[in-house]
Amino acid sequence: MSNILEEQISDEKIALSDLYDDVFSDESDVAEPSSLDYLSSQKDRYEIEDEIGHGGAKKIIRVYDTRARRYLAMAIPRSKSGSSDHNSFIHESWLTAQLDHPNIIKIHEVGVNKDHLPFFTMDLKNGHSLEQILKCLANKDAEYIERFPLTKLLDFFIKICDAISYAHSINILHLDLKPANIQIGQYGEVVVCDWGLAKIIGGRKSLNLNRDMLELDLVEDESPLIMGTPGYMAPEQVAGQAPTPLTDVYGLSAILYHLVTLTPTINTEGCTQALEHTAVGKIQAANELADISDGLSSIIMKGLRVDPKERYQSVLALQNDLSKYLQGYVTKAEDPSVIKEALFFYRRNKMICLQACFFVFLIVASTMGFIASLQQSWKSEQEARIQAEESALKRKQALDLYLKEKAQGAEVKNNFADVLLWNYQIYNSKNFTENPETMLLNALKGLEYKLEQNPNDSSSQMRMALTLFILQRYEQVPKFMGSQTELKIIEGALKYAADFQYSKGHKNVPLPVFISVIKGLREFGYSSVATAYRAIAYDIKTRDNFDNYEQVIEEALKLWNDHWENMVFDYNREAQSLRIKGKNFLNLGIYDQFGQIPLLQYIPIQHLDISDTDFEDLHYLAGSQIETLDIRHTKVKDLSPLLKLPELRRIILTQVQFPQEALETLPKTIELNFSK
């Protein structure tokens, strides 16, 4: 760096100091022009910039407002014909000017230009129309997909609803709602534009005299022309009927449909065909086009009904349902419980939960049904098929009901109880035998919840009574006892139980109580088997000590062999032997549509004499410790179940009872004693 005192002067320095001199060479010290002078010097308020769009009857021009010093959009009619033709243009400007809402385009000035054409100015919006956005989304434009996820689009939609709801509140209908008429600003502002077809509807108290005068000026002769956009106009517009707020509900729903499916409601080539489809409501269901929940789909389709009476009856109703859908619906503080936790989990993972629950359940249920039908013998196979058909029908009905309820109210809480109860149907599920306690406790929670919502529901009360009965909480049952015929079955059993004194609150009542309960059921008759089956299934899965259980077995066998004559049931504990005799004795255990439970495994038994009965199915011996088996004069044909009895050493049978081949399948360790 050279010293400034001896260096050459740079050009830049000279330029700068020249500039200084330049400023001061001009001695006249002109006062800064005043802003008022500026304002009054502007003769033409608007400088035309460029055309930015046009509609049917008007074009939109970008103009610079020299007074307010900003850019605006100016609308002027396209045709230059006589002044009477501009009525609708001017009416549109007056009508739009009535609307004061953040989501509705603002009118700044309405006037007449030098060419004697009417014009109005409004906000100039940067951004896109919703139509352009939807087009880009439909073309899978990655940037748009990231910028406009479905939740964002639904937010836009809620704002559109706000605007229309407001307009309806001051009796103005839009009547040309479509994505092209919605502007989305760069920062997500939503503006409803083009109120060219808008109408005022009457029947409201006067706001002020000026508004009344405006309405008088806007009254038009009924036009026979169909006005609107095919695909978004409502059937009643196609039919030329007078529009109502429900016409806008249709238009909004058509926008929602397009938002969600990225396809217009009607996608035909010709206009005539589009109008025909509109008139009959030929619209593909939204959930067939897009991966959305049935709830959302039904909200959309409800707004698109041909008959206005079947639509949402106001924009607000549509908006409320959609908001509920968007937020889920759990608000009340609950007692801490599994249900509450499940509900909150569900709320956090709504979509995934619902879908997962459904599919897992459907898969499990159908797999179970399949396995169950394989396992049953040919006789019960027939029964199972009928049952399966019935339960499929019921399942479908329940599913339909569930979907309907879900769609109508989004009452997630109630539905959850239904799901719980449906998953844990104690009388209609194969799973019961496997894990009765879980099924019962879950059903109990579902029912408690149901009754909390609706304490007088007699069906829930009845199911509650039966659930508590099977859980052996006999003392709690009377609270839920009504006059239902299903409950007559357990009345006798409950009376017996009430005669005993025992400590409550255990999983199982003392054995004598349980025995007399089964006796009570047995005395009611064979129609109590379903309940008895579940009571015993629960008992054997939960009871710790099976001493004296032969008494339960005896009662059970009496019930399941209701035509048993000359009955003999002789159990000797010391000898560990059981002798059963009598005509029409068939079942050595309990069974139900979903399976059978062999009972002999629960008592110590080495010697079984079942000769001279109608006994047939050796599967009933499963799990037992039998060493000696007497099956003379029975109807046993299939010996294969005996292979699963490890302790079996001796079978007593008659010479003619089985073919030699059948006997040869038995292991050599088993001694065959032929006798008469």
Binding site: N3, I4, L5, E6, L16, S17, Y20, V23, F24, E32
Partner: protein
């Protein structure tokens, strides 16, 4: 404009009511230029702080003596800087002979004529004023407007500026003139404030 007519300039305030606030403002207004000059004159770094302080104090104490009729601000500024610097460098040389730089600068200062030195100060001060004017406008106008003006100062043709800034020649013309107008106004205002 009226704002400045009813307000005393910094110099007037320094003369009439020399308080602490005025001193602070005075220092912040001239310090930058004085430091710049001393640096450009290659005064040794260890002397600059003290010397600048001395010059500022000199200016301040002589403000009340100063009357507009006596001469131009810049000749006066020249004298104060030159005398203070010469004194300070002589003193430094007397106490510390090894300061070679100091004697070099002193030699240059003593050899340069009063009018030549004034020319340098004059030139530097004017470009300094232009620069602070541009700085103050830059914080208030769009980048494009300032850039167009700066390019026009470099005598670039309007078309070239338009191409470079990606705007119309009409816009360049309008912006150039409007910024120039604003610039002149702002420069005059600053001169009124800082020169006397």
């Amino acid at each position: 404009m009226s704002k400045w007519n009813t307000r005393y300039t910094l110099i007037q305030r320094a003369q009439n009511s020399p308080d602490n606030d005025t001193w602070e403002e005075f220092v912040s207004s001239y310090k930058k230029f004085i430091f710049y000059m001393l640096n450009q004159m290659q005064v040794p770094q260890n002397l600059i702080d003290d010397l600048a302080q001395e010059i500022l104090l000199n200016l301040w104490s002589k403000l009340s003596l100063y009357a507009k009729e006596k001469g131009k601000f810049r000749s006066w500024l020249t004298r104060v800087i030159r005398n203070s610097a010469t004194d300070s460098l002589k003193k430094e040389q007397r106490y510390n002979k090894r300061q070679e730089n100091a004697s070099e600068v002193l030699e240059l200062l003593e050899n340069i004529s009063e009018s030549d030195f004034e020319k340098i100060i004059d030139r530097e001060w004017r470009s300094y004023m232009v620069e602070i004017t541009l700085d103050s406008l830059e914080s208030q106008l769009s980048e494009t407007a300032i850039e167009v003006f700066k390019l026009s100062l470099k005598q670039l043709p309007t078309e070239e500026i338009a191409a470079q800034m990606n705007i119309t020649t009409g816009s360049v013309y309008t912006l150039k003139n409007r910024v120039k107008e604003k610039f002149s106004r702002r420069l005059k205002q600053l001169v009124r404030e800082l020169e006397f």
